[in-house]
Symmetry: C2
Subunit: 127 residues, 2 copies
Amino acid sequence: METTEQTRAVARRYVETLNERDWSAFSALLADDVLYEMPQTGERISGRERYLQFNQEYPGDWSLTVTRLVADGRTAALTMDVTMGDAAMVGVVFFEVDGDLVRRVTDFWPEPYEPPAGREHLVERET
Amino acid sequence: METTEQTRAVARRYVETLNERDWSAFSALLADDVLYEMPQTGERISGRERYLQFNQEYPGDWSLTVTRLVADGRTAALTMDVTMGDAAMVGVVFFEVDGDLVRRVTDFWPEPYEPPAGREHLVERET
């Protein structure tokens, strides 16, 4: 389906241009009224200018690599490995896309944690 | 596409049967060699019997509601609201599906956190 392929390309390009800090190409992907939300902090950023500025001002020397990408009509989801100096994280991003523009971005930043006790009989653990 | 629609249905049914603790229906969705992984803890569970037992033994009176669902060929991603007594969480799940069977499940459990300082001029915050 053309819509799905276009949505997939927009989501991939979003990460590529962010990774390259190609701000004009990144900005060109954003709808005027793009909404960015981070449910873990309850924060929202509204509008292309503010969201561009947020990314331009974001501290650290980050590098992004897409590890999963699922596109479905006008929605997409991806995971990405994020390195920032010696630190490594995983980011999860959901998109709403309209044509070749991103309308809404929802980011999740899951942090490592120690597993609760009581399931050692079922799990293996990577070291 | 038939594959995408089937994948979407399997992902939805996975959450429904888990929510209903309908263990025979849940188990019927799992490939023999299903792999469950939690990147935040580095834990993995291999095989239908162990993964079923893990869910059956999981403590708490949880309730699951799908809030986003993206399906794409043999992969899918979803977010779900999870309540456990008074506690509310969000779960993010990525799936690999083969026909009507789940082959791989990757769960993320992003926790709330306080936003870092320095971006107050760009964000609104839900209270």
